[in-house]
Amino acid sequence: MNEHILIVDDSRTVRNLVAFIMKKEGYKVTMAEDGLDGLEKLFSADKIDLIISDVNMPRMDGFTFIKNVREQEAYKDVPIMVLSTEGRPSDISTGMQLGANLYMVKPAQPEKMVKNIKMLFGEK
């Protein structure tokens, strides 16, 4: 426990909700409002152990963010879970090709989310 999760979503409601669910499980949470903010948090906060990212965000969308994260030496293997309203097979495929480990489509059940997070940490 006590792993550090970065939540990247332009919706404050979604950020707060996911943060609430993760904190309840004992994880430490940092929030970012878009890809650029997410990159900032990656290097200013304590080491991030897992990233939950939305796709449609201003300034830098989720897929560009994931691609950039994979470029960083320190975070090229960090588990990334996409949590997005875009659920078409093409979107899922793009996300996975860019380096996401898991793709969840909103609306997502909190229990399923927690189960997936635990699985990603277990794979580490």
Partner: protein, 479 residues
């Protein structure tokens, strides 16, 4: 089903913003097009999916008519159909009719009346064919409506005999009893309070016919435009107009093209009473009266041609971005207590740009190459309907180091009305730095093109250069 990331990003960038509106090319965009596209600008933009509209530089004389009798002749130089000035200045009807009479005005008149006569036009013969009309199919609604319109004008009395519309609005037959009659005034006030599109009771029959004809003309033109999109009349371009949100009535600034103003009026008219059908997009009625240019007209110069280009799709200008766009970026940065900078890599070296200049960061897209352009100009892409030149920042900064990675990103900036992309290798992170950690006076040579660097950022124990986005624009447009 499976899509490559490149295809995904390409599709995303082509999706138009839902708040797009038509506009015009900025000065900086026109300068870029003149410098790097020249005569091929329209074709190059078409290649990346940006359709343009060539506005006619000068009014063209109408096509020759069949017989001399089939024309109407204005008695004086100024044509003002009776009742027109009484219509609200921003209604579609007035705009449509103004365009129509302007075309009538520019038609050759075998006889001109002496100055000072009343401003009406008088047809020479019973049969009236406005210039350009016979080029339309004889059975189109537009021709029928316009014929009805000029017949109404023909039947209307001289302006001096028409009562003014407004508080004293009344039928001509009621003129003798109206002044000071309270019941009439009440009736008028009640009727005046109805929707703006409805005809006021005080309008004369002729003026009413004018208004009805103008409304019918607009509707017919819209229906005709619908047929035009299916390919019937070949001359006019089909315009794709996204539905505009209803806007409050406002005086139309002269810089907005007529199609844009009419579109706004249509959005207003969509809220009008139910008996008025919602107007279809793309009113081409201003063009109905525009005859084809004659073969003998001189060709416009290349610069004029590019200056007269208008994009069919545009993008919403973010007000905040626009405000910071015009001011010198460095002066804005120097005034801030804390700056947010986007750090990125070119080779092994890290650089930064201020976040206020950054619109977004996107995945690399292959641009359309521009012929005879310098090496640092990679080409242009279509980013949500806006022409976006891409430049290799690496070449501009003369960085000789080897590329660490082939995967590239584009930092999209917007300055001085030009949206452009800086091709970089990868984004590192975003920094928040206090003003005290920025050194604006650069004395030491950094081994790169210092002209494009506006300052140095002190990060831990290293110095990171701040790229001057303003000077990048100057470099691209002037060099």
């Amino acid at each position: 089903m499976n899509k490559s990331p490149e295809e995904y990003f390409r599709e995303q960038s082509l999706v138009p913003s839902p708040t797009e509106k038509s506009g015009s090319f900025s000065e900086a965009e026109l300068a870029f097009m003149r410098k790097y596209m020249g005569l091929d600008a329209t074709e190059m933009l078409h290649r990346i999916g940006i359709e343009t509209l060539q506005e006619e530089a000068a009014p063209s004389p109408p096509a020759p008519l069949k017989t001399e009798e089939e024309t109407f002749t204005p008695k004086s130089g100024k044509i003002v159909p009776p009742g027109l000035e009484q219509l609200a200045p921003t209604t579609e009807a007035r705009q449509v009719m103004t365009k129509f009479v302007e075309s009538l005005q520019s038609s050759p008149s075998p006889q001109t009346g002496p100055a000072g006569e009343e401003d009406v036009f008088v047809p020479k013969s019973g049969k009236i064919v406005p210039p350009g009309l016979e080029q339309l199919a004889p059975t189109t609604e537009a021709r029928q409506v316009m014929t009805k319109f000029v017949e109404a004008l023909q039947a209307s009395p001289a302006p001096s005999s028409l009562p003014p519309i407004g508080e004293e609005a009344a039928e001509p037959e009621l003129q003798a009893e109206r002044p000071g009659t309270p019941p009439e005034r009440e009736k008028d006030a009640q009727l005046q309070s109805e929707a703006a599109e409805e005809t006021e009771p005080g309008l004369s029959k002729a003026a009413q016919a004018l208004v009805e004809a103008a409304s019918a003309l607009t509707e017919a033109a819209s229906a005709w435009a619908g047929a035009a999109e299916k390919g019937a009349p070949p001359r006019l371009p089909a315009e794709e107009i996204p539905p505009a949100p209803p806007v409050a009535p406002e005086p139309a600034p002269p810089s907005i093209p007529p199609a844009e103003r009419i579109r706004k009026e249509e959005a207003k008219a969509a809220e009008a009473p139910p008996e008025k059908p919602a107007p279809a997009p793309a009113p081409v009625s201003p063009r109905l009266a525009a005859p084809p240019p004659p073969a003998s007209a001189p060709l416009p110069s290349e610069a004029d041609r590019i200056s007269s280009l208008r994009p069919l799709t545009g993008q919403e200008e973010d007000l905040h971005a626009e405000m910071s766009e015009d001011r010198d970026l460095e002066s804005i940065m120097r005034a801030e207590a804390e700056l947010q900078m986007v750090g990125f890599y070119l080779g092994a070296q890290e650089f930064t740009v201020p976040i206020i200049a950054v619109q977004e960061v996107i995945r690399y897209q292959e641009p359309a190459k521009l012929p005879a352009s310098p090496e640092f100009v990679a080409g242009v892409i279509n980013l949500r309907g806006k022409m976006t030149p891409l430049v290799y920042l690496r070449d501009m900064l003369e960085i000789r180091q080897e590329r660490k990675t082939d995967d590239r990103f584009i930092i999209v900036c917007r300055r001085r009305g030009l949206q452009f992309g800086l091709i970089i290798e990868r984004v590192h992170t975003m920094y928040r730095v206090p003003q005290k950690d920025i050194d604006w006076g650069i004395e030491a040579h950094l081994g790169i093109n210092v002209d494009l660097i506006s300052g140095l950022l002190k990060l831990d124990d290293s110095l990171v250069a701040i790229v001057s986005v303003d000077r990048v624009v100057d470099y691209v447009l002037e060099k």
